[in-house]
Structure formats: C-alpha cells, structure tokens
C-alpha cells in the first residue's frame, strides 16, 4: 500500500516541487492550497502524513494543526511543518499546537523523503 502524503501550501511552486520529490519517491501525493482546503482534503484523502506551510490565506498552518489535532476528527498522523520561518517562538507554537516536526524551506528533497519514510514506516 502506498503511503499518502497531503501537502498544504499556498505556493504552487512549492507544491510542484513537493509533488516531484514525493511522487518520485513513491508516495501518493495530494495537495491543498490553503488551510481550509487542507482540512477538507484531510477528511477525503485520509493521508498517512501531512506537510503544512505556516503562512497561508484563509487558515494558517497553526490553524491546520490545531484543527487536525483537536477538531471533531482528531488525528494522530504525523504533521510536518514546512516553512521558511525558523523562529524559535513559531516552532514552539507549532509544537504546542501538535506538530510532529519542522522542516525549513528550502528543503532538501532527499532528507525530506527520508524524514517522511521514517515517520510513516514507508518501506525504503
């Protein structure tokens, strides 16, 4: 069974890059372009891992994490924050909200893939 990744990012460029990296690595790739759509997609896709940006319109990454962790369909799937921010306060906030990890853009696709594989037990 392929591992499903849901990427939530308002940047088409980043979504494209993720698609290439992740599909290339054998993941099933789904994406959403803002937090609201991301949460909706989550219910449809039932991903094994979520990658989310922080700065997004409609609902930001913190909102996504909080909703996924504390919403009616609370989930325990890993949620990785992928962002250009590296501020400690923001990281702490993401962690409090329930993020599983933090990757700073620009990401190195091989390390991203290995992180995801590790998190999902994806067969290498």
């Amino acid at each position: 069974m392929t591992t499903k990744v849901l990427a939530i990012d308002d940047s088409r460029t980043i979504r494209n890059l993720l698609r290439v990296s992740l599909e290339g690595a054998g993941f099933e790739y789904h994406s959403a372009c803002d937090g609201v759509e991301g949460v909706e997609q989550f219910a449809d896709v039932e991903p094994d891992v979520v990658i989310t940006d922080i700065n997004m319109p409609n609902m930001d990454g913190f909102g996504v994490i909080e909703t996924l962790r504390n919403g009616p369909n609370r989930t325990t799937v890993p949620i990785i924050v992928l962002t250009t921010e590296s501020g400690a306060d923001l990281k702490a906030r993401a962690r409090t909200a329930g993020a599983t990890g933090w990757i700073v853009k620009p990401f190195d696709d091989s390390s991203l893939v290995s992180v995801l594989r590790r998190l999902t037990g994806h067969v290498v």
Partner: protein, 708 residues
C-alpha cells in the same frame, strides 16, 4: 515535470504574487491598519522568498527576506506605516519585481537601487532583527541526482556516550510521534542501545492503547554534539520527560545502561548546552508571536479552480468557431434561396442553431478575456517613477479594474497606456506649488478607468492638471509646419494636433515622456486594435484621453452595405445615425464638395465609392443612404453608401496577415454566401479624400499611405 517547467511555474506564480503585492500595497495606502491586507502583502513576499530559495536565487531570497521582516514589524504593530514607509514599500515591491525578472532572464539586477532600498529597509530593523538575518542553507534541488562531492575535511571524531532517559506522555502519541522513529534518528548518529522499562505496564485488562506507559533507557555512542540530540527530541520536548547526560568520555562504555548517575563535572556542559532548549520550551509560546489575526474567512480568497491552456489552442478554437458562424450563415442563406414551402419548423431550428453557435462563440471568446487589473496595476509604478523624476506629486486612482478585455488587447495596450500615463504626470499635472496656488490638492490625481459601454471597451486616462495649452500646441504645430498659419482650427482640431506624426520631437525630450514616442504612436497602436483615441480637455481642471476599443478582436456588429457593385461591412459602433437624404438638405460646395444640413449644421458628405477609387459612385445621382459618423480628423461626417442590406455580427479576418494594410479598410469578413466583404474604417476612409471640405489637416497626415 522537469526542473525547468517547475521553474517556469515559479516565475508564473511570482507574477501573480507580485500582482497581489501591488494590489495589497495600494490597499494599505487606504488603510494600513487592515491586518488582512498587511498579511496578504506579507504572504506574497514570503511566498516569493520560499520559492526562490528552492532555486537558490539567493539575492532574491535575501531581499525578500529583508522586505518581509520589515513588513512583519508592521504586522506586529512594532512599526507604524507613514507616507515615507509606504513609498519605501512600493519601491521595494518594484525592486522585488526587478529581481524576479532578472532572475527569470538570468541577468544582473540593478545592484545600486537594490542596495539603496535594502539599506532603507534595514534602517527600520532593530539590531536583533539584523543579527537574525536570514541565512538560507541554499539546499538546491538536483533532479539529475548527481551525487554531490563532499570534500570537507573529516574532523577527528571524539566519541562520547550519552545516557538518555525518555518517558513519553500520551500527548506524544497523539501528536503523531512514534518513539521508534526517534530512536532510528538517534541510531543514525552512532551506536544506540535501547531498553524498554516495562515496569509501569498495567494489567492486560487495564491497558489503554492510547496511554503511554513505557519508559525507555537509551545509550548512544556518538561523535555528535549534544545539541544534535536535543534537536531530535525538539518536537517532543514538552510531550515527554527527557534526561540526557554525558558519561565519562574515557569510559569503555559498558553495555547495559543502568541508573545513570552522570558525573558532576560531565553534567556541567549538559545543562549549559541544554539551556537554550529549555529556555525555548519554557517561554510562553504566545508571548512573542504576533496576536493571532482573524483569518479573512468572510472573504473567500482561495483561487478558483483554473485550467491552464495553451493560448494557441484557444485561438484555434476561436477560429473554428468563427468558421461555424460563417457556416451557419451560409446554410441559412442557402435554405432561404431554396424557397421551400412551409418551412416554419425548419426556420425555428435554424434560429436555434444560430443562437447556439453564438453562445459557443461568446463562451470561447470569454476564455481570452482578462481583467485589466494587472495592466492598471503596472501603471501605479509608472506614476510613481514619473512623479519622482519630475518632482511632481501624483497618485493613481483606478476604477473598474475588473473590466475584462481580450488578452491581446491588454498586451498591446501596455505600451500606449504607459506612455499616456507618463505624459499625464509629466505634461498634464502642474508642479505642487502651482497646484496649491490654484487651490488644488498638491498631489495630482491620475485616474485610470475601464468600463464596458454599448459593446465597446472604454479606457480613460484622466489627470486633474491644468488642461491642454492650446495656444502653445497651435504655435508649435505651425512652427513645425504641420498646419498653415492661416488655418482656423476648432478646439477639438487643435487637440488632435497632438496625434500628428512629428508633433512631439526630440527638441523637448524630457527624461520621461520623450523617448522618441509621440502620441501618434499611441494612436496607431490603438488603431491597430480597431480602437480610437480622443481627447477632452478643460483649462484649469485637466485632460482626459479616452480609448475606445472593440470588445473582442474576432467579431463585430456591422451593417452590410453596398458600395458601387461591392458588398462591404461598416462597424455599427462607428455610426451615429443613418439618414435618407432629402434633396433640399443637400448643398454643393465648390466643384464637387457636398454638405448636408443636419439639424442646422452642415456636415460634409464623403462618397465612399469614390474615396475607395471604385467606379460608379453615388455622388452624381445623389441617391443612396448617408451614414453619420464622427471622425477624428474632421468631426461629423456623412458617408454616402449605396444601400444598407442587413445588420449582423461578422467574424473579423485580418487582411494584413496575407496581404497588407489597405487604406480605408480595417479588415475583411466572410459573408453567408462565402464571399469576402471588406470592413470599412470610417476614419481612414474620410482621410482618403483630399478634397473633403473643412479639412485643414488633410494635407499632412497619412501621406505615406496613399501611394499604396
């Protein structure tokens, strides 16, 4: 998808983001307190930075970062937006656009302005922000997967043994963590041994799978720093009890880690290095983060799902649909010619066919339609640059920027519009002091508006300046020999002198408006789109240029008329009224000039057949129909044609693609019988007549076309 196409999408996206940025900045001008707007601006810059990082566009990244950091200060209310800062933001936006463009075209951006703006931006940052200045480890994506040679000198590894006690809380599991994965990560750092402490395991019956009951004892032998270990646990820090201690370095590392009483001297560095980590966690997370803004939920801003289509495909479709329309007209005509008895139902079906074909056509044309907004937005930069260069103060006001216009029209309008907006600031507006003297706002307004009116697109460029100096214009035109000194010109005629080739020359090339382009170039560019430019100016209160363009470049409503023995089409939009002349209203002037009295004023008559050089004009007989049109060169004019047969939408076919321009003819179309009919251009048509009365300018313009 190749790297290149991802790169292309990045630059496409940048264009959208830059648009959003400009839009956001002008909204900030209205209300800099609106956090939704500030956020949108921040996000646009931020997204550009994010994407740029992936392509190692370092300059772009670092500029965007500085810009974004200042914007973040506005977001967190640390920085107040005043006029000066707003201007800096605008300039930063322009600079960012330049950097994006430079990166896209792989050329050097303007380093000087970049440095200036960066310096000004940095002036708004505290020392702390600057220290935190962003350094991306430019990790680029290498899709060819060429292994990167690593030739760093291996540091002498000093192995140390860490004892780790790890007790997860249930929250750790709830947040998607899995201890085994953490252990995997640790194992990558060196040799790891793991022991589970199952002493807290409850009775089987009481087991809650969501509860965290296992304690772990780990021992790691690694050359890595302790901070690296903490980084692994960074995200579970608050979700577990964690103790990390270093064992004596010289110890031979006994296997089973029992109780780990770290030697005090070794424990020292532990707390030291661990300190920042602890500090991070204990700090109230909300303390420094900006107050959470309500996301603009009420305003659905998410992009509507779109489809990117190759423009060529759309154009092919438009062409084919054009054929369909012609084909439909032909079928209708053939059936009519058959004179079948009792064809009522057939007529109904045919009518339905016609409507369907029209619907398809409209739908297809709509694909090409785009709002003028991006075009208008570009003009705000022009206004800014022009006012900076001239020392005048100006602001741009746009109206109706959601008006949709054919994509090609928008593209080809960019240059003329730029020129006109520059002109409006440079020549239209008065210097601030002079404006104040006149009791006006020292900041001049350039108003750019777009609207749809009666099947045409109207674009107006208006300034609230001093109005045209007609005396000066006339003087100049006479000086340049464009008008004879004796000519008596109406105000409108004087205004139109601006459009004459050779009116604006290098002699008065100011920094801005000059550049070798005159209004004649603007006029020709608009005319090439089937449009017209006109001027209205009121002394003391400003000048308005109006561009009228057809809605689409592909179809047009026209009268099917006969000229001599030919069938032709004339655009309905150009016709003010049709007149069946009464002999008593016709008057002769000179040998062959004729005028008609229309509600008290005399309007020159132009015989279309004669101007086109076709035999058998209607002039002599005085028969035919007159079409009243308004032309630039001679105002109201009556065009004499043989007869009007029909009014219909026609598909415009370019003559120029296979032949060339023909004076008086703008294009061609294909009629229901498959024959080609020429589409007349009334404005050019009247100019073909050298003997037209009331035409003081006729001797100069457009001579070059006549030898054709």
């Amino acid at each position: 998808m190749s790297t290149n196409s991802i790169r292309d999408t990045f630059f496409e996206e940048c264009e959208e983001l830059l648009e959003a940025l400009v839009e956001g900045l002008s909204a900030m001008e209205e209300n800099a307190e609106d956090m939704d707007v500030v956020n949108a601006v921040f996000r646009a810059v931020h997204s550009i930075k994010g994407g740029a990082g992936a392509f190692a566009l370092d300059r772009l990244v670092s500029f965007a970062h500085t810009f974004e950091t200042v914007m973040d200060k506005v977001r967190s209310h640390e920085l107040k937006v005043d006029e000066e800062l707003m201007l800096l933001f605008h300039r930063s936006g322009d600079q960012l656009a330049d950097l994006v463009e430079a990166a896209r075209d792989d050329r050097e951006p303007n380093a000087e302005s970049e440095a200036t703006i960066l310096k000004e931006l940095e002036a708004h940052l505290g020392d702390a922000d600057r220290e935190e200045a962003f350094s991306f480890d430019a990790v680029t994506l290498d899709f060819d997967a060429a292994p990167m040679p690593i030739d760093l000198p291996e540091p002498e590894p000093t192995l140390r043994r860490f004892d780790i006690r790890f007790h997860p809380t249930p929250m750790l599991y709830a947040n998607g963590h899995e201890p085994l994965l953490l252990f995997d990560a640790l194992a990558e750092l060196g040799t790891l041994t793991v022991q589970a402490d199952l002493s807290h395991l409850p009775e089987f019956d009481a087991f809650d799978p969501n509860d965290a009951v296992i304690d772990w004892q780990l021992s790691l032998e690694t050359s890595e720093d302790e901070t690296v270990l903490h980084e692994i646990f960074e995200f579970v820090d608050a979700l577990c009890d964690l103790e990390i201690s270093v064992r004596d370095e010289d110890a031979p590392a006994p296997m089973p880690p029992e109780e780990s009483p770290a030697p005090p001297e070794a424990a020292e560095p532990v707390t030291e290095t661990a300190a920042p980590v602890v500090a991070k966690t204990t700090e109230p997370p909300e303390a420094k983060t900006p107050p959470k803004q309500s996301a603009p939920r009420d305003e659905p801003r998410g992009p509507r799902p779109t489809l990117r289509v190759d423009l060529e495909r759309v154009d092919r479709l438009i062409n084919t649909v054009g054929e369909l329309i012609i084909n439909q007209a032909m079928i209708s005509q053939r059936i009519e010619e058959l004179e079948l008895p009792a064809v009522a139902h057939l007529t109904n079906e045919l009518e339905a066919y016609k409507l369907l074909a029209r619907d398809i056509q409209e739908g297809v044309m709509a694909i090409r339609a785009q709002p003028v907004k991006p075009l208008f937005q570009r003009m705000s930069r022009i206004v800014r640059e022009a006012s900076e260069a001239t020392g005048k103060k100006a602001k741009l006001v746009t109206v109706g920027d959601s008006t949709e216009v054919d994509k090609t029209v928008i593209e080809r309008l960019a240059d003329p519009l730029t020129h006109m907006v520059r002109n409006a600031v440079d020549h239209g507006l008065e210097p601030p002091a002079k404006r104040e003297d006149a009791g006006k706002d020292p900041v001049g307004a350039i108003r750019l508006s777009a609207s749809h009116r009666s099947g045409s697109v109207f674009i107006e460029i208006a300034d609230d300046g001093a109005g045209l100096n007609r005396a000066r214009i006339l003087e100049k035109a006479i000086e340049k020999g464009l008008v004879s000194p004796e000519a008596e010109l109406s105000e409108q005629e004087i205004d139109n002198l601006l459009f004459l080739p050779g009116f604006s020359t290098a002699a008065e090339v100011s920094n801005l408006s000059g550049r070798g382009v005159g209004m004649d170039v603007v006029k020709n560019a608009v005319a090439a789109l089937g449009g017209r430019v006109s001027i209205a100016s009121v002394p003391g209160s400003g000048t308005t240029f109006t561009i009228v363009l057809p809605l689409t470049l592909a179809v047009m409503d026209g009268f099917v008329i006969s000229i001599s023995d030919q069938t032709m089409v004339i655009p309905i939009a150009s016709i003010i009224e049709t007149i069946r002349p009464n002999r008593k209203d016709l008057h002769c002037i000179g040998t062959d000039g004729q005028v008609i009295s229309v509600r008290g004023s005399y309007v020159p008559i132009v015989d279309v057949a004669r101007n086109l050089g076709l035999s058998g004009g209607e002039t002599t007989t005085g028969s035919g129909v007159l079409l009243l049109v308004s032309t630039e060169s001679q105002g109201l004019t009556a065009l004499r044609v043989g007869a009007i047969h029909d009014q219909r939408q026609v598909v415009i076919k370019s003559l120029e693609s296979n032949y060339g321009a023909i004076p008086g003819v703008s294009a061609a179309t294909i009629l229901g019988d498959g024959k080609i009919a020429l589409i007349l251009d009334p404005d050019e048509l009247v100019k073909l007549n050298p003997a037209a009365p009331f035409l003081p300018l006729a001797s100069t313009p457009r001579l070059e076309l006549r030898h054709a």
